[in-house]
């Protein structure tokens, strides 16, 4: 097999295999870029974003250490029947700890008020724009468990594939002699415009 054939096949099959991610990143960029529009549209529905699922008495010491705070978050989530989700635990101040649990479809926040010994659990209403942006923003190897890590590995794979698309695309363009002139114009104008943004933004 010639290099040009290998290049075209790699471009094609990588593109097809990772097409759902490519499509997802493209579509989910719309609510990011037009956040104000989507917020206004949702506001017009006049529905609360968070709904209280339960409120109960709870007495537990809040650790200072971030690692222990995370374990505290895990234990508190387990207490209300949430296990195995991505989550984060954050101190909002001396009198409040927030624990966020999120999957692609559901988001729940726990608010613990140590002084009042009170725990509140709230579920977020499903929104398509949040579903998409949540998927777009998902990544990183901070979360424990093989599933979030596997997703992060695919994100890396997608990035490497994108670099290959750029390289193989440029190679394919160069192979078509009659399109070299306009191709140079497109590359040069893209680079100049991008460079200007880097300096001016």
């Amino acid at each position: 097999m010639k290099f040009s054939d290998l290049n075209r096949r790699a471009h094609l099959y990588l593109g097809l295999g990772l097409l759902p991610w490519f499509f997802m990143y493209g579509v989910s960029s719309i609510p990011f870029a037009h956040n104000a529009f989507f917020e206004a549209m949702d506001k017009a529905k006049n529905q609360p974003l968070w709904k209280v699922r339960l409120e109960r008495q709870y007495d537990a010491a809040v650790p200072e250490d971030p690692e222990q705070l995370r374990e505290f978050g895990r234990a508190t989530l387990k207490l209300v029947g949430i296990e195995g989700t991505n989550f984060g635990a954050f101190r909002q101040g001396p009198d409040q700890v927030n624990i966020y649990s999120y999957t692609f479809f559901n988001s729940t926040q726990l608010k613990y008020f140590p002084a009042e010994k009170r725990l509140r659990v709230e579920d977020r209403r499903f929104r398509w724009d949040h579903f998409l942006t949540g998927m777009h923003a998902r990544g990183g190897f901070e979360q424990k468990g093989w599933l979030p890590s596997a997703w992060a590995v695919v994100v890396d794979l997608f990035c490497v594939a994108s670099l290959i698309w750029i390289g193989s695309g440029i190679y394919m363009w160069w192979s078509i002699r009659q399109s070299r002139g306009w191709g140079w114009v497109a590359i040069a104008s893209g680079l100049v415009a991008f460079g200007l943004f880097v300096v001016l933004l």
């Binding site: 094609l12 099959y13 990588l14 593109g15 097809l16 295999g17 990772l18 097409l19 759902p20 991610w21 490519f22 499509f23 997802m24 990143y25 493209g26 579509v27 960029s29 719309i30 990011f32 870029a33 037009h34 956040n35 104000a36 991505n86 692609f104 998927m135 998902r138 990544g139 990183g140 190897f141 901070e142 599933l147 979030p148 596997a150 997703w151 992060a152 994100v155 890396d156 997608f158 990035c159 994108s162 670099l163 698309w165 750029i166 695309g169 440029i170 363009w173 399109s179 306009w182 191709g183 497109a186 590359i187 893209g190 680079l191 415009a193 991008f194 943004f197 880097v198 001016l200 933004l201």
Partner: protein, 186 residues
């Protein structure tokens, strides 16, 4: 093809910044022991007056204009002081205006490569009120349209090549199944 060649720098930036964000913990661990301090750039007196009922944003915009540092920014009040974060991609600055003595302190914020990339990736434009940001936002919209177009045109081009249909279908199906698995389980 020409749209892809024109937008290649955007794709490259989004890809490299995604990799940096996907491995943020590595950079944060590296920077954690000694976060770089802010470097004082200048301290000037500000003698201008603000319109009656001027809000923090209006005041921030006016101060930035007087310093010739106009551009996207965020502003907050810290006691009596007004703290402006000027989101300059290459030279982010913190500008503190203290109305009691009329002093403005301009400090340069640290801007390591991973932070620069992340800020660039997250850059929006339509709501800043500055023309260059609006034009940037339009190019981001163009890039989004380009991505969706590439995905659809790629599908069409694959279907047109009969010789690659079988392996292509296998690659597409495998990708769809893996994606669906993640959507359901994560």
């Amino acid at each position: 093809m020409y749209a892809a060649l024109f937008l290649a720098p955007w794709l490259l930036m989004y890809v490299v910044s995604t990799m940096a964000m996907n491995h943020r913990d590595l950079f944060e661990k590296r920077d954690a022991p000694a976060p770089k301090p802010l470097g004082k750039e200048r301290e000037v007196s500000y003698n201008g007056s603000f319109p009656e009922k001027a809000d923090a944003r209006m005041m921030g915009r006016q101060i930035l204009a007087s310093l010739e540092l106009e551009g996207a920014f965020q502003v907050r009040r810290e006691g009596a002081a007004l703290v402006i974060s000027r989101n300059d991609l290459l030279s982010p600055r913190r500008i503190t205006y203290t109305p009691t003595d009329g002093k403005v302190v301009v400090e340069r914020m640290p801007n390591p490569p991973h932070a620069f990339l992340e800020k660039f990736h997250r850059r929006r434009g339509y709501d800043t009120g500055y023309g260059v940001d609006t034009v940037w936002a339009i190019t981001v919209d163009l890039f989004i349209a380009g991505m969706i177009f590439w995905a659809l045109s790629g599908l069409w081009m694959w279907w047109e090549m009969k010789v690659t249909r079988r392996y292509g279908a296998f690659a597409l199906l495998a990708g769809l199944l893996l994606f669906a698995f993640f959507v359901v389980t994560i």
